[in-house]
Every structure is written in structure tokens, then in C-alpha cells.
């Protein structure tokens, strides 16, 4: 089973295995290239020694023999190196959390907790809307009250005005003066009647 080392890939931006593969292929290419260079240099040297009786085939055999050995050792050493690097250098220990994931340590919310939090927020939004419209209604009533109070105060002022007029014309307490008036007019009527009788 392949360990994808995805968490390491999240940190490094590449998978450690790919990194090692890239190094392996590069090293292997160098080894092969160098062997070909060695072989071509030797063949060139042999061109300069016509009676050396060493054939290109022999040199190729030698190259293959040396390369085979080197390749085996190379693979052993490389897999050792890969094991150590993947373990000690290119790996993130299980108890280590990457900075971008710190939030999971601070807020390990389960689905239920998350939904509860969302529900709470939704409820708060509803409440706020209710309060806001209640506030509007209250402010509207306050406006209305202002107008009504102004009207009612106007009526009261009207009454005051009425009483002031009475007072200006000497009738402090309207009721008494009205009674007084009634009496007076009654008296006047009597006097009138009296006068009319006498005159007859």
C-alpha cells in the first residue's frame, strides 16, 4: 500500500517519493553517462595503439562488468539513502501540525457543534431583525404620539385661551360668573316685568 505522504506534499509542494525518484534518475543517468565517457576515452586511446589487440567488444564487456557492479551498489546505497531521507528529512512527524492547519487544533468542531453554532447565528439574526422592526414600530409610534400630543395640547391651549378671554373681561371663574350672569339676567327680567306692570 502506497503511503501517499499527502501531508508532506502539502508542506513541500511535491511528494517526497517524487523528489527521491527525480534524484535517483538523475544520479543513474550520470553514472551511465560517465561510463559511456570512460569507454569512449579508452577506445580513443586504443585507436592510438593499433597493435594493442584489445577489441572494442572486450572494452564493452569490461564496461558492462564495472557498470553492473556499480549499478547494484548504487541501488543498494540509494534505497538506504531514500529510506533515511524519507524518514528523517522529508517526513512530518505524526504529532506535528502544519501552521495552516493550526485552526483544527484550536477549534475541533464536530458537525453537530458546527450546525449548532450556525443555528445560533441564524437565531440571533432573526432576533435582530425582530428587534429592528420593533424598533421601527416604536419610533413610528413616538412620531405619531408627538403629533397627537401637539394636537391635544393645542386643544388645551384653546380652552386656556377661552378662559383667558373670560378673565380679560372680568369673569375669573366662569361658572360663578355664569351663575351670576344667570341671576343678573333673571333679575333684569323681573325688573323688566315690574316696570312693564307699573307702566300699564
Amino acid at each position: 500500500s502506497v503511503n501517499p505522504m499527502a501531508y508532506e506534499a502539502q508542506f513541500f509542494g511535491f511528494t517526497p517519493q517524487t523528489c527521491m525518484l527525480r534524484i535517483y534518475i538523475a544520479f543513474q543517468d550520470y553514472l551511465f553517462e560517465m561510463m559511456l565517457v570512460v569507454e569512449s576515452v579508452i577506445l580513443k586511446k586504443l585507436d592510438g595503439l593499433p597493435n594493442s589487440k584489445i577489441s572494442a567488444f572486450q572494452i564493452r564487456k569490461s564496461t558492462e562488468k564495472f557498470l553492473l557492479f556499480m549499478k547494484e551498489r548504487f541501488d543498494q546505497l540509494f534505497s538506504k539513502m531514500e529510506e533515511v531521507l524519507l524518514q528523517l528529512v522529508l517526513s512530518i512527524p505524526p504529532k506535528v501540525l502544519l501552521p495552516e492547519d493550526k485552526v483544527h487544533e484550536q477549534y475541533p468542531y464536530s458537525k453537530e457543534q458546527f450546525q449548532a453554532l450556525q443555528g445560533e447565528i441564524h437565531q440571533l439574526q432573526q432576533q435582530y431583525r425582530a428587534e429592528a422592526s420593533a424598533g421601527q414600530a416604536l419610533r413610528a409610534e413616538l412620531e405619531e404620539q408627538k403629533a397627537v400630543q401637539a394636537e391635544l395640547e393645542k386643544v388645551l391651549q384653546w380652552f386656556d385661551g377661552l378662559e383667558n378671554i373670560c378673565r380679560e373681561h372680568g369673569t375669573g371663574n366662569f361658572k360663578e360668573s355664569f351663575a351670576f350672569l344667570t341671576q343678573n339676567s333673571k333679575k333684569l327680567q323681573d325688573v323688566l316685568k315690574d316696570v312693564e306692570e307699573k307702566s300699564r
Binding site: A6, F12, I23, K45, P94, Q106
Partner: protein, 156 residues
């Protein structure tokens, strides 16, 4: 640190590889040529080894530059150092993105919640005051109406 370990491991690999491909081994494989030209064989071998080492070192440097490995190794060392007191295995992506993204949003939802709680409280206090003045207003109006009623009655 990781950078030092990386360099040390690569150097060890190279040393062992060179040790494996010893001159004896090389001369043994190219025995016919070695007998003919021992000095040339030696110098070819030396060049082979030094070129191989140079190429390997250059490749490693290239990989480190490309992957910005030194910086990454140092920052990983720091991250590991900070976590040294951790006991439990740390969180890892669950493989369900919706789940994993939740925690990222939580701190902001909590801030949002406390903001809403704050403004709701302000609104409630504001409405409380408005309600009191509405009640006072209603009371005032009732008084005025009674006053008017009384005056009217008096006149009547």
C-alpha cells in the same frame, strides 16, 4: 537540522558509492587496458570519479534550489521544534473537504456570533428606552385626553 542531515546522507551515499567503485575494482574490470596503460587507466578513473561526484553534487544543489529545500527544511525544523511537547498525534486532513473546511470557518463564525450578540443587545436596550418613552407618551396622551375631557365637561 534537516538540511544538515540531508547533506550528510547524500555525502555518505557518494562516499560509499565511490568506495564501492574502487580503483582496484575499476582496473580489475578493465584489466586488459589497465595492463597496457596503467597510468592512463588511473587518470581516466580519477576523472570518472571526480566528474561523477561533481555531477551528483550539482544535481543535489539543483534539486535544493528548485524545491527551495533549505528554506523548507529550516521551517519544518522550527515547526517540529514547536510541537515537541505534543503528546497526541496531530490532526490530519480527513479526506472530506467539507468537514475539514468547517474548522477554518469556525473562528470567524464565533466572531460573527459575538458581533450579532453585541448589536442585538444594543438594539434591545435602544428598544427598551423607546418602549419606555412610548409608554410614557401613551400615559401623557391619556392624561391630556382626561384633562380635555374634564375641561369639556366643565364647559358643558
Amino acid at each position: 537540522g534537516r538540511a544538515q542531515v540531508f547533506a550528510a546522507v547524500v555525502d555518505t551515499f557518494l562516499e560509499k558509492l565511490v568506495a564501492a567503485g574502487s580503483y582496484q575494482r575499476f582496473a580489475n574490470c578493465y584489466r586488459c587496458f589497465y595492463k597496457l596503460q596503467p597510468e592512463v587507466t588511473r587518470s581516466i578513473y580519477d576523472q570518472f570519479i571526480s566528474q561523477l561526484q561533481t555531477s551528483v553534487k550539482e544535481e543535489i544543489q539543483e534539486v535544493k534550489d528548485e524545491g527551495n529545500l533549505d528554506m523548507l527544511f529550516n521551517s519544518l525544523d522550527k515547526i517540529v521544534e514547536e510541537a515537541k511537547n505534543q503528546e497526541e498525534p496531530a490532526w490530519r486532513p480527513s479526506g472530506v473537504p467539507e468537514e475539514d473546511v468547517r474548522s477554518a470557518v469556525v473562528p470567524y463564525l464565533l466572531k460573527h456570533r459575538s458581533y450579532l450578540q453585541k448589536v442585538l443587545k444594543e438594539k434591545e436596550e435602544e428598544n427598551q428606552k423607546a418602549a419606555e418613552s412610548v409608554l410614557a407618551g401613551r400615559k401623557r396622551i391619556a392624561e391630556l385626553q382626561q384633562l380635555i375631557q374634564a375641561r369639556k365637561q366643565a364647559w358643558q
